[in-house]
């Protein structure tokens, strides 16, 4: 409090109260709030897109793994063949083949039942040459194991036709990759749109703060210093927007995961769970959303800095 009185006048306020580091670019403006809102919405949508793509990629991995772990064998009998002994033979060969976890042979009635959706009830299926179906669970999705089983069947029981689902798995993979690529493109477009919005806002801020820039130049501020001040200002705006948008997206995924758990028993819930899993992004997914928010914050600062720097360099 040594500075309290000077020349009979009340002097400086206590040191702690001295306001001495206000941002050089005024913090609050309508343009700043509007930009924060735009960034919040864009971040929310970008996080939804990225999170959705992650969920779909995880789900597609699960589907492919499930599909590839199961193969089907059809046993077609010719006239005079003992179907039951053929089926027993195939079960025995399959059970002894490397990589096979479990074999289940559908009975004639069960095989016939599979046709019910197409042929209806009350038909005597014994008159039809319906192949018998065996479902084989593999230990993994190894192509070698499936090829071994196919070769073993071809050698000993030509009536048995093995059908793996690699074509389906490949199609699922292609579809999932296409959706993920589409999500990536959408994400990139959102980032580009956001960068353009930041550009407009920065140019507006430069025009609105022209007098401040002029004074800063006159007192010896370099273009780099002024650009850094704008970068700090816009990084803060970007942080506010990214925080709101990113938090909202996280809240959305958490709420969706909770809702999905509640509705798991319903038919609709099961369908959604089949498509997206249980909306369980997991720690990696949530970390990805945080990274997106951080990248958007940094990007906001860097884009505005580059624009301001270029503008200042263009001034005489």
């Amino acid at each position: 409090m040594k500075d309290a009185v000077h020349d009979g006048r009340v002097a400086l306020a206590p040191r702690a109260a001295l306001n001495r580091r206000m941002p050089l670019i005024p913090r609050e403006s309508v343009a700043g709030r509007a930009l924060a809102a735009v960034i919040a919405i864009m971040t929310f949508l970008a996080c939804l897109t990225a999170g959705g793509a992650l969920l779909l990629a995880q789900a597609s991995q699960g589907w492919r793994s499930d599909v590839l772990r199961e193969v089907t064998i059809q046993v077609k009998s010719d006239a005079g063949d003992d179907v039951e002994s053929l089926v027993a033979k195939v079960v025995s060969i399959a059970a002894q083949t490397r990589g096979v976890k479990h074999v289940r042979a559908y009975s004639a009635a069960e095989s016939g039942k599979l046709l019910q959706p197409w042929l209806g009830d009350g038909l005597d299926l014994s008159l039809l040459p319906i192949p018998r179906i065996l479902v084989v669970d593999m230990e993994g999705a190894s192509e070698e194991d499936v090829a071994g089983l196919r070769a073993a069947l071809a050698r000993s029981t030509p009536q048995a036709i093995l059908s793996d689902r690699r074509i389906w798995a490949a199609r699922i993979g292609t579809m999932a990759s296409a959706v993920v690529a589409l999500a990536g493109a959408t994400f990139a477009l959102m980032i580009a749109a956001m960068a353009i919005a930041i550009g407009f806002a920065t140019r507006g801020a430069v025009a609105a703060n022209r007098e401040i820039i002029e004074v800063l130049h006159f007192v010896g501020a370099s273009d780099g210093f002024i650009a850094r001040e704008f970068e700090t200002h816009f990084r803060n705006v970007g942080f506010r927007g990214a925080l709101i948008g990113g938090s909202s997206a996280m809240a959305f995924f958490l709420a969706a995961a909770t809702l999905s758990r509640w509705l798991m028993d319903s038919a609709g819930g099961a369908q959604i769970a089949a498509l997206f899993g249980a909306f369980a992004l997991g720690p990696t997914g949530y970390a990805a959303l945080i990274v997106i928010g951080a990248v958007i914050t940094v990007l906001t600062g860097l884009v505005s800095r580059a624009i301001v720097f270029r503008h200042l360099r263009g001034l005489q």
Binding site: R9, E214, H217, V219, A221
Partner: protein
């Protein structure tokens, strides 16, 4: 320190607003630039501050040809020049303390490094109790002193002041001029644009550059 050779300036295809300026300012001199309103005093100061580039002629400042300076060099030179604007140009969203400290902050010096210096200068110009005040609530005289303090904080080698006493009463005007004289004694070249003849008469040691119709009419008592 500063010399003009056949300097002229026009905006676009218009007529020259200043023309045939020939004079030089010695280091550690005290100079009034005077003339009627609209004669070109402010334009002349802006040319000296390198905020305008002449359309013809040569300006040498601190031994450099102004036309050959890069932007970074202009920035470096401006750090050796203090400037007081006629309309003060204080930043309203900053406090008086922050406004005065602005040139040091722009140089990248840490706040803790210059704090005592700024407070001392604020006291010296009689604004010790207004450090936290926004320029919006300062009186005309206080704004003037804050603008002067901002110009002096870097201990400039050259001080340019545009009508620094235009908004204050005669008593405060004399006090402010004494401030400039004090600075001049410490080695700074001072150039003050004013049309206040009685005020200039009180400082007979100062040289006078009289501007009229965009030309130098007399320089140090000699007609040009």
């Amino acid at each position: 320190m500063l010399s003009f050779e056949n300097v002229g300036l026009r905006y676009g295809m218009g007529p020259e607003v200043v023309s045939d300026l020939n004079f030089s300012i010695a280091p550690q001199s005290f100079q009034f630039v005077t003339g009627p309103s609209g004669a070109g005093k402010t334009t002349l100061l802006r040319l000296m501050l390198l905020s305008l580039r002449p359309t013809r002629g040569t300006i040498h400042i601190f031994g450099h040809d102004a036309a050959a300076l890069s932007k970074d060099q202009v920035t470096a030179l401006r750090r050796r020049i203090g400037v007081v604007f006629q309309d003060f140009r204080l930043l309203d969203h900053l406090t008086t303390y922050e406004n005065v400290a602005l040139p040091l902050r722009a140089m990248g010096r840490p706040e803790s490094d210059y704090r005592a210096e700024v407070i001392e200068l604020l006291r010296w110009v009689g604004l010790g109790d207004r450090a936290n005040a926004s320029p919006v609530v300062l009186s005309g005289g206080e704004k003037q002193r804050a603008a002067i303090a901002r110009a002096l904080i870097v201990r400039p080698e050259l001080l340019l002041a545009d009508e620094p006493t235009g908004n204050v009463d005669p008593g405060l005007a004399r006090r402010l001029l004494r401030l400039f004289i004090e600075l001049h004694r410490l080695g700074t070249a001072v150039i003050i644009a004013t049309h206040d003849l009685p005020l200039m008469d009180q400082f007979s040691f100062a040289r006078r550059l009289v501007v009229g119709n965009g030309k130098v009419v007399t320089f140090d008592g000699v007609s040009t």
